[in-house]
Amino acid sequence: MNLALSDEQVLLREAARGALSRFKTLEEAREALDSGGSTVDLWPTATEAGWPGLLIDEAHGGAGLDVFDAMLVLGECGRVLAAVPLLGHLPATAILGDGAGKLGETPLLGELASGERRAAYLAARPPDDISGQWSVDPASGMERAALPSAIAAGEGEARVSGRIAFAPDAPGADVLVGVASLDGRAIGFAAESAAAGVSIESVRRYDATRILGHVTLQDAPATILAAPEESLAEAWHLAQALIAAESLGAVESALDVSVAYAKERFTFGRAIGSYQAVKHSLTEVLRQLENGRSLLYYAGWSRHGAPAEFPLAANAARSVAGRALDHAARTMISVHGGIGATWEHDAPLYFRRAQLSRRLLGGTALATDRVAGELIAQG
């Protein structure tokens, strides 16, 4: 038994922290909110560091690493609220790596590994113990939207129509990888974003560090992927694990800043961190953070150590991490007092991150429901 990071994993994390420290991501996030513009493009940094190929086989020029390694990188992005479009790219590469169909004969995987081209995953939620249907995130409301539908169009090709709302990292992506319904079964597809019939509407919701888009497909030409249905389901759970890791990174820095302030701010002649009310609320953030970290280990280990448990582990991590970020951001604001709720402070940036993250990729609520469903189904 060994749940410690390997030397390589420590290096990967430190390198990521170093690379991202060259940017003033928080300042930029605030400015982008002010101007309505975007934050600096961090894809070149990601490319230089080799992150686009984290989950792609070495044979295709990737690093051939594992979910846990990807989570370490996402955690570092989360720490500084960096807008690195890996949440969309990595699950897409995982599906393509499991079976790219005709695209396997093209240099696509190599280009995605090098970062020359960027992919975005059009998240689709697999059936659970109650619903036998696949679904995608709706543009509004609680009702899940149906998968795009595909019509076969020649050997290994299809025409796909449908809409996926709030797809992370879709704007600016070269290739879209999603799930569609073909003759009643779920298939993986890849479409060029520049192709006729593909439109991506960039949307900004509350958090300027999050690249989001509504994707509309109208008879869009697509390649049918060979990745089996299990691989498509796994991509959803992978996305849950990645957003969990990203969220916990943000919790770490929110807690650090809050603790530092609680040590230096004095009221009634003593540091506010000495009061139980403040101390206990900060230990509650730590408790949730530690639980989340443990579940990242569970998710990372189970992907190969106990694949049947990966959905359970990844969704549990998302559930805990999502709530942890929400709580950490609110605690950060309250520990800082009034200033924490103003534009002067970074706390609102974490709060914005928490609020939006909680509603993406099915939302924290659906991840929590999946945990219950998996356990109930186990009997």
């Binding site: 109650i130 101390k279 206990h280 639980n291 579940l295 280990y297 359970l312 559930s319 709530r323 219950a372």
Partner: protein
Amino acid sequence: MDLDDTPEQAAYRAQVRAWLEQHKSEAPMLVGDGALKDEDEIVAARRAWQGKLAEAGLAGVTWPKEYGGQGLGPIEGLICGQEIARAGVPGILDAIGVGMLGPTIIAHGSEEQKSRYLGPMLHGDEVWCQLFSEPAAGSDLAAVQTRARQQEDGSWRLTGQKVWTTNAQFASYGLLLARTDADVPKHKGLTMFIVPIEAEGVTVRGLRQISGEAEFNEVFFDDLALDADAVVGGVGNGWGTALTTLMFERVTIGLGGEGLGYNSARFARAIASDEHARRDPEVRRQLGEIASELMAVRFTGYRTLTALQRGQIPGPEAGLAKVTIVNGAIKSGDLIADVLGPDALAEDSEWAYMISFLPGLKSAGGTEEILRNTIGERVLGLPTEPRLDKGIPFSELRSKEAAKA
């Protein structure tokens, strides 16, 4: 990162499993048809079973060989525990002695104490209890008032009261924290003793809890005579010795959450048995939240074990796991009772027992508030609260408290 056994660990697991397979019919039956009911019989049978486990090397796995242990690491300790659970047989009766008090004696006791007490403790011949908490000294443990006064011949006389003492009703010995000097600040005037429980001057009284059962005791000492060699770790060093015990307690709690039976799969099964509940969004939300946290604790345990294996001593953060387990189990009990209705509270219901047990457990092994203080200060580095007792002799402190009251 992996959870697999190394070849050596796999061989050890196979060896433990084989012994259990061969001997599990000798284990006492505690549940199901033909289960023992009489408490004296249960205790006798479990002591005998502990003896067999010890003979076979399945007790005190991490104890040094010279004291009858196996001299193995924490992972082997966990493997042994997993295999005992897997075999469906009871573990050792005296987990408090073997898990916490024995290791304290190994760390601080004299050679005479080690050779006299450790063997019978390990084999269940003499059961031990922990005599730390008092009615007015729980969270503030260093405020114990049980007084030991040294006689001219070097022996001691002990008077006072302890509480929350598990297993005292059948224990032979206890490890007791007493005040030996009231004229110095409170942490300094403490001494640890080994005390006989069946001696003249000791009274054990069961303390019934919410469930109606008496799992803890109050223990009264009325001028109990102790020899000079009853002191463990030196006169005036009681606080440091107590911290060793509490460190082992943290390890036990950190690794033992699953052992309490508070796990997500068990709670989910109770809910899944109801056709309506298993589809109810609100029930699922609560179950999902609780279960996620309880699953996390399992992996926190593995992280602790990894640290132990690397020679690191677990810090107070293990207390967070206890907070998660207890609160998760409390919420689970509530949810299950909401699903099952009043039947969950029936006299013989496992849930009624759990629901009754948990409010007290919230204060056991450190109250949630004290754990959060300690973790806030020692892990997050937050400043301590101003204290009114620092540097003040214990006797003055007591008179100040009396004057205020």
